[in-house]
Amino acid sequence: MFSFVISYLNFLKYIPLFPHVFDSLLRVWVLVTKPKLLNWLDEIEGEVLNWQGTNVSIHKYGGLQFNYRGTEIGHIHSNGLLDVLYTLKIKEVLLKTGRVSNHHVFAKSGWISFYIKRTEDKKYALELLWLKYQDIHGGNTESHRVYLVDYQNAITLCEPLYFPLLSSVRLLLEI
Protein backbone atom coordinates (compact mmCIF):
# COMPACT_ATOMS: atom_id res chain seq x y z
CA MET A 1 0.00 0.00 0.00
CA PHE A 2 2.71 2.47 1.10
CA SER A 3 4.92 1.45 -1.83
CA PHE A 4 1.99 1.81 -4.24
CA VAL A 5 1.20 5.34 -3.06
CA ILE A 6 4.88 6.33 -3.11
CA SER A 7 5.40 4.86 -6.58
CA TYR A 8 2.25 5.98 -8.35
CA LEU A 9 0.66 8.76 -6.30
CA ASN A 10 3.80 10.54 -5.16
CA PHE A 11 2.64 13.82 -6.75
CA LEU A 12 -0.15 14.00 -4.13
CA LYS A 13 2.44 14.91 -1.50
CA TYR A 14 2.33 18.47 -2.83
CA ILE A 15 -1.34 18.84 -1.82
CA PRO A 16 -1.35 20.57 1.58
CA LEU A 17 -2.02 18.14 4.42
CA PHE A 18 -2.42 15.14 2.09
CA PRO A 19 0.79 13.39 3.23
CA HIS A 20 -0.13 14.06 6.86
CA VAL A 21 -3.58 12.55 6.42
CA PHE A 22 -2.05 9.59 4.62
CA ASP A 23 0.38 9.16 7.51
CA SER A 24 -2.54 9.34 9.99
CA LEU A 25 -4.39 6.61 8.11
CA LEU A 26 -1.17 4.56 8.08
CA ARG A 27 -1.06 5.02 11.84
CA VAL A 28 -4.60 3.67 12.17
CA TRP A 29 -3.58 0.69 10.02
CA VAL A 30 -0.50 0.09 12.19
CA LEU A 31 -2.61 0.45 15.34
CA VAL A 32 -4.82 -2.37 14.13
CA THR A 33 -2.18 -4.62 12.59
CA LYS A 34 0.97 -3.93 14.62
CA PRO A 35 0.29 -1.76 17.68
CA LYS A 36 3.74 -2.49 19.18
CA LEU A 37 5.32 -0.42 16.41
CA LEU A 38 3.66 2.73 17.77
CA ASN A 39 5.15 1.97 21.21
CA TRP A 40 8.59 1.58 19.65
CA LEU A 41 8.18 4.97 17.96
CA ASP A 42 7.30 6.47 21.37
CA GLU A 43 10.39 4.85 22.87
CA ILE A 44 12.62 6.13 20.06
CA GLU A 45 11.13 9.61 20.48
CA GLY A 46 11.73 9.48 24.23
CA GLU A 47 15.34 8.36 23.76
CA VAL A 48 16.20 10.96 21.11
CA LEU A 49 14.67 13.72 23.21
CA ASN A 50 17.20 12.82 25.90
CA TRP A 51 20.00 13.88 23.60
CA GLN A 52 21.11 17.43 24.18
CA GLY A 53 19.50 20.09 21.96
CA THR A 54 16.99 17.82 20.21
CA ASN A 55 13.29 18.28 19.61
CA VAL A 56 10.60 16.69 17.48
CA SER A 57 8.23 18.10 14.89
CA ILE A 58 5.90 16.85 12.18
CA HIS A 59 7.73 15.95 8.99
CA LYS A 60 6.62 17.94 5.93
CA TYR A 61 5.54 14.71 4.20
CA GLY A 62 4.02 13.15 7.31
CA GLY A 63 5.73 11.37 10.17
CA LEU A 64 7.80 12.13 13.23
CA GLN A 65 10.83 14.32 12.58
CA PHE A 66 13.81 14.61 14.93
CA ASN A 67 15.77 17.85 14.90
CA TYR A 68 18.93 19.19 16.43
CA ARG A 69 18.83 22.98 16.68
CA GLY A 70 16.76 23.38 13.54
CA THR A 71 18.56 20.73 11.48
CA GLU A 72 16.79 17.46 10.73
CA ILE A 73 18.39 14.35 12.18
CA GLY A 74 15.91 12.03 10.48
CA HIS A 75 12.25 11.16 10.34
CA ILE A 76 10.06 8.10 10.82
CA HIS A 77 6.84 7.55 8.90
CA SER A 78 4.03 5.91 10.86
CA ASN A 79 4.59 2.56 9.16
CA GLY A 80 8.02 2.42 10.82
CA LEU A 81 10.06 3.62 7.86
CA LEU A 82 13.05 5.60 9.09
CA ASP A 83 14.75 7.99 6.66
CA VAL A 84 18.08 9.64 7.44
CA LEU A 85 20.31 11.80 5.25
CA TYR A 86 24.05 11.06 5.39
CA THR A 87 26.94 11.93 3.19
CA LEU A 88 27.22 9.64 0.18
CA LYS A 89 30.37 8.13 1.68
CA ILE A 90 28.66 7.17 4.93
CA LYS A 91 25.63 5.94 3.02
CA GLU A 92 27.82 3.69 0.91
CA VAL A 93 29.29 2.17 4.05
CA LEU A 94 25.87 1.70 5.64
CA LEU A 95 24.49 0.02 2.53
CA LYS A 96 27.28 -2.55 2.82
CA THR A 97 25.91 -3.60 6.20
CA GLY A 98 22.86 -4.85 4.31
CA ARG A 99 20.43 -3.53 6.90
CA VAL A 100 19.55 -0.25 5.26
CA SER A 101 18.44 0.45 1.73
CA ASN A 102 18.40 3.34 -0.69
CA HIS A 103 15.78 5.95 0.12
CA HIS A 104 12.30 4.89 -1.05
CA VAL A 105 12.11 7.94 -3.35
CA PHE A 106 15.53 9.59 -3.63
CA ALA A 107 17.60 6.50 -4.32
CA LYS A 108 20.64 8.35 -5.62
CA SER A 109 20.89 10.86 -2.78
CA GLY A 110 22.54 10.41 0.60
CA TRP A 111 19.20 9.44 2.14
CA ILE A 112 18.82 5.91 3.45
CA SER A 113 15.66 4.06 4.48
CA PHE A 114 15.32 1.50 7.22
CA TYR A 115 12.14 -0.38 8.16
CA ILE A 116 11.54 -0.88 11.86
CA LYS A 117 9.85 -4.28 11.95
CA ARG A 118 11.10 -6.00 15.10
CA THR A 119 12.05 -4.95 18.62
CA GLU A 120 15.75 -5.19 17.82
CA ASP A 121 15.24 -2.79 14.89
CA LYS A 122 14.37 -0.08 17.39
CA LYS A 123 17.93 -0.15 18.72
CA TYR A 124 19.39 -0.07 15.22
CA ALA A 125 17.13 2.89 14.32
CA LEU A 126 18.50 4.71 17.36
CA GLU A 127 22.04 3.92 16.22
CA LEU A 128 21.31 5.38 12.79
CA LEU A 129 19.84 8.52 14.34
CA TRP A 130 22.75 8.78 16.76
CA LEU A 131 25.22 8.53 13.91
CA LYS A 132 23.52 11.47 12.19
CA TYR A 133 23.19 13.34 15.48
CA GLN A 134 26.91 13.01 16.03
CA ASP A 135 27.47 14.30 12.52
CA ILE A 136 25.46 17.48 13.15
CA HIS A 137 26.10 17.85 16.86
CA GLY A 138 29.86 17.79 16.55
CA GLY A 139 29.94 19.73 13.29
CA ASN A 140 31.84 22.68 14.67
CA THR A 141 34.00 20.95 17.18
CA GLU A 142 37.46 19.52 17.08
CA SER A 143 36.17 16.09 18.07
CA HIS A 144 33.84 16.09 15.06
CA ARG A 145 36.68 16.79 12.67
CA VAL A 146 38.51 13.88 14.23
CA TYR A 147 35.34 11.82 13.88
CA LEU A 148 35.09 12.52 10.18
CA VAL A 149 38.72 11.65 9.61
CA ASP A 150 38.98 8.64 11.86
CA TYR A 151 35.93 6.65 12.93
CA GLN A 152 38.03 4.85 15.53
CA ASN A 153 38.27 8.11 17.46
CA ALA A 154 34.59 8.80 16.99
CA ILE A 155 33.67 5.57 18.70
CA THR A 156 35.33 6.73 21.86
CA LEU A 157 33.00 9.73 21.89
CA CYS A 158 29.87 7.64 21.76
CA GLU A 159 27.70 5.94 24.30
CA PRO A 160 28.21 2.17 24.45
CA LEU A 161 24.65 1.70 23.19
CA TYR A 162 25.60 3.05 19.79
CA PHE A 163 28.94 1.32 19.59
CA PRO A 164 28.01 -1.61 17.28
CA LEU A 165 26.95 0.51 14.35
CA LEU A 166 29.86 2.92 14.55
CA SER A 167 32.15 0.00 14.92
CA SER A 168 30.78 -1.63 11.79
CA VAL A 169 31.03 1.66 9.91
CA ARG A 170 34.69 1.89 10.87
CA LEU A 171 35.41 -1.68 9.86
CA LEU A 172 33.71 -1.27 6.52
CA LEU A 173 35.55 1.96 5.83
CA GLU A 174 38.80 0.15 6.42
CA ILE A 175 37.94 -2.65 3.99
Binding site: S24, L31, L38, N39
Partner: protein
Protein backbone atom coordinates in the same frame (compact mmCIF):
# COMPACT_ATOMS: atom_id res chain seq x y z
CA UNK B 1 -2.50 11.08 37.03
CA UNK B 2 -5.61 9.69 38.68
CA UNK B 3 -7.79 7.54 36.45
CA UNK B 4 -10.93 9.65 36.97
CA UNK B 5 -9.08 12.89 36.09
CA UNK B 6 -7.61 11.18 33.03
CA UNK B 7 -11.03 9.99 31.88
CA UNK B 8 -12.52 13.44 32.56
CA UNK B 9 -9.88 15.10 30.36
CA UNK B 10 -10.44 12.58 27.58
CA UNK B 11 -14.22 13.14 27.78
CA UNK B 12 -13.63 16.91 27.81
CA UNK B 13 -11.83 16.58 24.48
CA UNK B 14 -14.72 14.59 23.01
CA UNK B 15 -17.38 17.00 24.25
CA UNK B 16 -15.64 20.28 23.38
CA UNK B 17 -14.61 19.12 19.91
CA UNK B 18 -18.09 17.83 19.03
CA UNK B 19 -19.80 20.94 20.36
CA UNK B 20 -17.44 23.00 18.21
CA UNK B 21 -18.09 20.85 15.13
CA UNK B 22 -21.88 20.85 15.30
CA UNK B 23 -21.98 24.56 16.15
CA UNK B 24 -19.89 25.32 13.06
CA UNK B 25 -21.97 23.01 10.84
CA UNK B 26 -25.16 24.63 12.19
CA UNK B 27 -23.86 28.15 11.51
CA UNK B 28 -22.65 27.17 8.03
CA UNK B 29 -26.00 25.55 7.18
CA UNK B 30 -27.80 28.68 8.33
CA UNK B 31 -25.75 31.00 6.14
CA UNK B 32 -25.14 28.61 3.25
CA UNK B 33 -25.74 29.93 -0.27
CA UNK B 34 -27.84 26.82 -0.99
CA UNK B 35 -29.38 24.63 1.68
CA UNK B 36 -27.86 21.17 1.82
CA UNK B 37 -24.49 22.05 0.33
CA UNK B 38 -21.74 20.60 2.47
CA UNK B 39 -18.50 22.41 1.86
CA UNK B 40 -14.83 21.39 1.89
CA UNK B 41 -14.23 23.04 5.28
CA UNK B 42 -16.83 20.89 7.01
CA UNK B 43 -14.99 17.70 6.04
CA UNK B 44 -11.43 18.98 6.28
CA UNK B 45 -11.00 21.98 8.56
CA UNK B 46 -13.68 21.02 11.09
CA UNK B 47 -12.33 17.50 11.86
CA UNK B 48 -8.79 18.90 11.81
CA UNK B 49 -9.67 21.56 14.41
CA UNK B 50 -11.61 18.91 16.39
CA UNK B 51 -8.33 17.01 16.60
CA UNK B 52 -6.48 20.15 17.71
CA UNK B 53 -9.13 20.79 20.41
CA UNK B 54 -8.69 17.21 21.63
CA UNK B 55 -4.89 17.61 21.70
CA UNK B 56 -5.34 20.77 23.78
CA UNK B 57 -7.62 18.94 26.23
CA UNK B 58 -5.22 15.99 26.43
CA UNK B 59 -1.94 17.90 26.52
CA UNK B 60 -1.20 17.07 30.16
CA UNK B 61 -2.09 13.38 29.86
CA UNK B 62 1.18 12.24 28.25
CA UNK B 63 -0.67 9.99 25.83
CA UNK B 64 1.29 7.49 23.80
CA UNK B 65 0.94 7.48 20.00
CA UNK B 66 -1.21 4.38 20.09
CA UNK B 67 -3.53 5.73 22.79
CA UNK B 68 -3.92 9.08 21.03
CA UNK B 69 -4.75 7.35 17.76
CA UNK B 70 -7.33 5.12 19.49
CA UNK B 71 -9.10 7.93 21.31
CA UNK B 72 -9.05 10.08 18.15
CA UNK B 73 -10.68 7.21 16.25
CA UNK B 74 -13.24 6.93 19.04
CA UNK B 75 -13.93 10.66 18.78
CA UNK B 76 -14.33 10.31 15.01
CA UNK B 77 -16.86 7.52 15.60
CA UNK B 78 -18.74 9.71 18.10
CA UNK B 79 -18.82 12.54 15.53
CA UNK B 80 -20.04 10.18 12.81
CA UNK B 81 -22.70 8.74 15.15
CA UNK B 82 -23.91 12.23 16.05
CA UNK B 83 -24.07 13.09 12.33
CA UNK B 84 -26.41 10.13 11.84
CA UNK B 85 -28.65 11.34 14.68
CA UNK B 86 -28.51 15.13 14.28
CA UNK B 87 -27.91 15.53 10.54
CA UNK B 88 -29.86 12.35 9.66
CA UNK B 89 -27.17 11.13 7.31
CA UNK B 90 -27.46 7.63 5.84
CA UNK B 91 -25.09 4.76 6.63
CA UNK B 92 -23.50 4.65 3.16
CA UNK B 93 -22.90 8.42 3.23
CA UNK B 94 -21.22 8.10 6.59
CA UNK B 95 -19.14 5.21 5.32
CA UNK B 96 -18.00 7.35 2.38
CA UNK B 97 -17.18 10.36 4.55
CA UNK B 98 -15.43 8.41 7.31
CA UNK B 99 -11.90 8.25 5.75
CA UNK B 100 -11.88 12.07 5.62
CA UNK B 101 -13.11 12.40 9.20
CA UNK B 102 -10.69 9.81 10.59
CA UNK B 103 -7.76 11.11 8.56
CA UNK B 104 -8.16 14.80 9.37
CA UNK B 105 -9.13 14.27 13.00
CA UNK B 106 -6.04 12.17 13.74
CA UNK B 107 -3.87 14.59 11.76
CA UNK B 108 -5.36 17.46 13.78
CA UNK B 109 -4.72 15.65 17.06
CA UNK B 110 -1.05 14.98 16.25
CA UNK B 111 -0.55 18.47 14.83
CA UNK B 112 -2.11 19.87 18.01
CA UNK B 113 0.16 17.67 20.10
CA UNK B 114 3.21 19.07 18.30
CA UNK B 115 1.82 22.63 18.58
CA UNK B 116 1.19 22.44 22.32
CA UNK B 117 4.52 20.71 22.98
CA UNK B 118 6.35 23.61 21.36
CA UNK B 119 4.19 25.98 23.42
CA UNK B 120 4.75 28.79 20.95
CA UNK B 121 1.63 30.91 21.33
CA UNK B 122 2.37 33.01 18.24
CA UNK B 123 2.65 29.91 16.09
CA UNK B 124 -0.52 28.37 17.57
CA UNK B 125 -2.54 31.54 17.02
CA UNK B 126 -1.17 31.83 13.46
CA UNK B 127 -2.18 28.27 12.57
CA UNK B 128 -5.68 28.63 14.01
CA UNK B 129 -6.13 32.06 12.37
CA UNK B 130 -5.07 30.63 9.01
CA UNK B 131 -7.62 27.83 9.36
CA UNK B 132 -10.29 30.36 10.31
CA UNK B 133 -9.53 32.50 7.23
CA UNK B 134 -9.63 29.39 5.02
CA UNK B 135 -12.96 28.43 6.53
CA UNK B 136 -14.50 31.86 5.96
CA UNK B 137 -13.15 32.04 2.40
CA UNK B 138 -14.51 28.59 1.62
CA UNK B 139 -17.88 29.37 3.19
CA UNK B 140 -18.23 32.51 1.07
CA UNK B 141 -17.16 30.85 -2.18
CA UNK B 142 -19.64 29.65 -4.79
CA UNK B 143 -19.93 25.87 -4.76
CA UNK B 144 -21.16 24.41 -8.00
CA UNK B 145 -20.02 21.25 -9.72
CA UNK B 146 -21.48 19.22 -12.57
CA UNK B 147 -19.94 16.24 -14.29
CA UNK B 148 -20.63 13.54 -16.85
CA UNK B 149 -19.84 9.85 -16.58
CA UNK B 150 -19.69 7.90 -19.80
CA UNK B 151 -19.39 4.14 -20.32
CA UNK B 152 -19.30 1.99 -23.39
CA UNK B 153 -20.17 -1.63 -24.10
CA UNK B 154 -20.27 -3.75 -27.26
CA UNK B 155 -23.30 -6.00 -27.65
CA UNK B 156 -23.41 -8.91 -30.10
CA UNK B 157 -26.78 -7.95 -31.53
CA UNK B 158 -28.00 -5.39 -34.08
CA UNK B 159 -29.30 -1.99 -32.88
CA UNK B 160 -32.96 -2.90 -33.54
CA UNK B 161 -32.73 -5.78 -31.09
CA UNK B 162 -30.81 -3.74 -28.49
CA UNK B 163 -33.11 -0.70 -28.70
CA UNK B 164 -36.21 -2.33 -27.21
CA UNK B 165 -34.16 -3.39 -24.16
CA UNK B 166 -32.72 0.10 -23.76
CA UNK B 167 -36.04 1.91 -23.53
CA UNK B 168 -37.42 -0.43 -20.86
CA UNK B 169 -36.29 -3.71 -19.42
CA UNK B 170 -37.50 -6.44 -17.12
CA UNK B 171 -36.16 -6.99 -13.63
CA UNK B 172 -32.40 -7.49 -13.23
CA UNK B 173 -31.84 -10.82 -11.50
CA UNK B 174 -28.05 -10.75 -11.66
CA UNK B 175 -26.38 -10.57 -8.23
CA UNK B 176 -24.77 -7.26 -7.31
CA UNK B 177 -21.03 -7.23 -7.91
CA UNK B 178 -20.24 -3.70 -6.70
CA UNK B 179 -19.31 -3.68 -3.01
CA UNK B 180 -21.40 -0.61 -2.17
CA UNK B 181 -24.51 -2.28 -3.64
CA UNK B 182 -23.69 -5.34 -1.56
CA UNK B 183 -23.32 -3.07 1.48
CA UNK B 184 -26.87 -1.84 1.07
CA UNK B 185 -26.72 1.00 -1.43
CA UNK B 186 -29.79 0.81 -3.70
CA UNK B 187 -28.99 -0.80 -7.08
CA UNK B 188 -31.00 -0.40 -10.30
CA UNK B 189 -33.56 -3.20 -10.71
CA UNK B 190 -35.93 -2.42 -13.58
CA UNK B 191 -37.15 0.30 -15.92
CA UNK B 192 -40.68 0.89 -17.11
CA UNK B 193 -41.94 3.30 -19.73
CA UNK B 194 -45.33 4.90 -20.41
CA UNK B 195 -44.89 4.86 -24.16
CA UNK B 196 -42.36 4.78 -26.98
CA UNK B 197 -42.29 8.47 -27.90
CA UNK B 198 -40.68 11.79 -26.94
CA UNK B 199 -42.22 13.19 -23.76
CA UNK B 200 -43.18 9.78 -22.39
CA UNK B 201 -42.62 9.12 -18.68
CA UNK B 202 -40.06 6.55 -17.65
CA UNK B 203 -39.36 5.09 -14.23
CA UNK B 204 -36.11 3.63 -13.01
CA UNK B 205 -36.80 1.36 -10.06
CA UNK B 206 -34.09 0.65 -7.50
CA UNK B 207 -33.65 -2.37 -5.22
CA UNK B 208 -35.10 -0.71 -2.12
CA UNK B 209 -38.20 0.38 -4.01
CA UNK B 210 -37.02 3.92 -4.67
CA UNK B 211 -38.08 5.30 -8.04
CA UNK B 212 -36.40 7.91 -10.24
CA UNK B 213 -39.05 9.64 -12.35
CA UNK B 214 -37.79 10.42 -15.82
CA UNK B 215 -39.07 12.07 -18.96
CA UNK B 216 -37.84 11.13 -22.43
CA UNK B 217 -36.48 14.25 -24.16
CA UNK B 218 -34.92 12.61 -27.23
CA UNK B 219 -36.45 9.54 -28.80
CA UNK B 220 -34.58 8.48 -31.92
CA UNK B 221 -35.17 4.72 -32.37
CA UNK B 222 -32.02 2.60 -32.68
CA UNK B 223 -29.85 5.72 -32.09
CA UNK B 224 -30.51 7.96 -29.10
CA UNK B 225 -32.59 7.78 -25.95
CA UNK B 226 -32.13 10.79 -23.71
CA UNK B 227 -34.17 11.41 -20.58
CA UNK B 228 -34.25 14.07 -17.87
CA UNK B 229 -34.66 13.08 -14.24
CA UNK B 230 -37.66 14.98 -12.95
CA UNK B 231 -38.15 13.29 -9.60
CA UNK B 232 -35.52 11.86 -7.29
CA UNK B 233 -36.29 9.72 -4.21
CA UNK B 234 -35.90 11.33 -0.79
CA UNK B 235 -33.23 8.87 0.27
CA UNK B 236 -30.90 10.06 3.06
CA UNK B 237 -28.01 8.49 1.14
CA UNK B 238 -28.39 10.87 -1.78
CA UNK B 239 -30.77 13.59 -0.59
CA UNK B 240 -29.13 16.94 -1.10
CA UNK B 241 -25.74 15.41 -1.88
CA UNK B 242 -26.08 14.52 -5.55
CA UNK B 243 -28.68 15.19 -8.22
CA UNK B 244 -28.76 13.02 -11.32
CA UNK B 245 -29.82 15.51 -13.98
CA UNK B 246 -29.94 13.57 -17.22
CA UNK B 247 -29.32 10.10 -18.63
CA UNK B 248 -28.64 8.96 -22.18
CA UNK B 249 -28.12 5.80 -24.22
CA UNK B 250 -26.46 6.17 -27.62
CA UNK B 251 -26.44 3.21 -29.99
CA UNK B 252 -23.89 2.85 -32.81
CA UNK B 253 -24.28 0.19 -35.48
CA UNK B 254 -20.85 -1.39 -35.98
CA UNK B 255 -21.93 -2.86 -39.32
CA UNK B 256 -21.00 -6.42 -38.33
CA UNK B 257 -24.09 -7.42 -36.38
CA UNK B 258 -22.81 -5.80 -33.20
CA UNK B 259 -23.82 -2.55 -31.52
CA UNK B 260 -21.80 -0.18 -29.36
CA UNK B 261 -23.93 1.21 -26.54
CA UNK B 262 -22.73 4.36 -24.78
CA UNK B 263 -24.34 5.21 -21.45
CA UNK B 264 -24.03 8.82 -20.25
CA UNK B 265 -25.18 10.34 -16.97
CA UNK B 266 -24.96 13.97 -15.95
CA UNK B 267 -24.97 14.81 -12.26
CA UNK B 268 -24.58 17.73 -9.91
CA UNK B 269 -22.66 17.39 -6.65
CA UNK B 270 -23.56 19.24 -3.46
CA UNK B 271 -20.74 17.85 -1.33
CA UNK B 272 -17.20 19.18 -1.41
CA UNK B 273 -14.21 18.73 -1.79
CA UNK B 274 -14.83 17.52 -5.33
CA UNK B 275 -11.44 15.78 -5.52
CA UNK B 276 -12.75 13.34 -2.94
CA UNK B 277 -16.49 13.03 -3.55
CA UNK B 278 -16.29 12.97 -7.32
CA UNK B 279 -14.27 9.75 -7.13
CA UNK B 280 -17.21 8.16 -5.29
CA UNK B 281 -19.87 9.77 -7.51
CA UNK B 282 -18.11 8.53 -10.65
CA UNK B 283 -17.62 5.06 -9.24
CA UNK B 284 -21.26 4.71 -8.13
CA UNK B 285 -22.66 6.12 -11.39
CA UNK B 286 -20.33 3.87 -13.41
CA UNK B 287 -21.51 0.81 -11.52
CA UNK B 288 -25.15 1.78 -12.05
CA UNK B 289 -24.37 2.08 -15.78
CA UNK B 290 -22.55 -1.22 -15.94
CA UNK B 291 -25.27 -3.11 -14.07
CA UNK B 292 -27.91 -1.79 -16.48
CA UNK B 293 -25.77 -2.15 -19.60
CA UNK B 294 -24.68 -5.69 -18.74
CA UNK B 295 -28.35 -6.54 -18.30
CA UNK B 296 -29.23 -4.97 -21.66
CA UNK B 297 -26.40 -6.98 -23.23
CA UNK B 298 -27.65 -10.24 -21.67
CA UNK B 299 -31.22 -9.59 -22.81
CA UNK B 300 -30.17 -8.55 -26.33
CA UNK B 301 -27.81 -11.49 -26.88
CA UNK B 302 -30.40 -13.99 -25.66
CA UNK B 303 -31.81 -16.07 -28.51
Amino acid sequence: MKKDIYEFEVAKGFILSNIFAFAIIGITKHFAEKQGVLIFSEFVIVPFVMGVICAWSWKELGMTRGRMTWVSCLNALIGIGLSAIILKEGAICLLIVSPLIFGFMITGAFTGRAMFKKNNQNLNVSILSLLFVLFIADSLSVHQYENLVSDEIVINAPPEKVWKNVVAFEKIKEKNKFWLFQAGMPAPMATTVEGYYKGAGRKCIFSNGYIFDEKIVTYSPNHDLTFDIIGQPKDPEIMGHIDIIRGQFLLKDNGNGTTTVIGNSWYKLYVFPVWYYDIWAKSITRNVHLRVMDHIKALSEKN
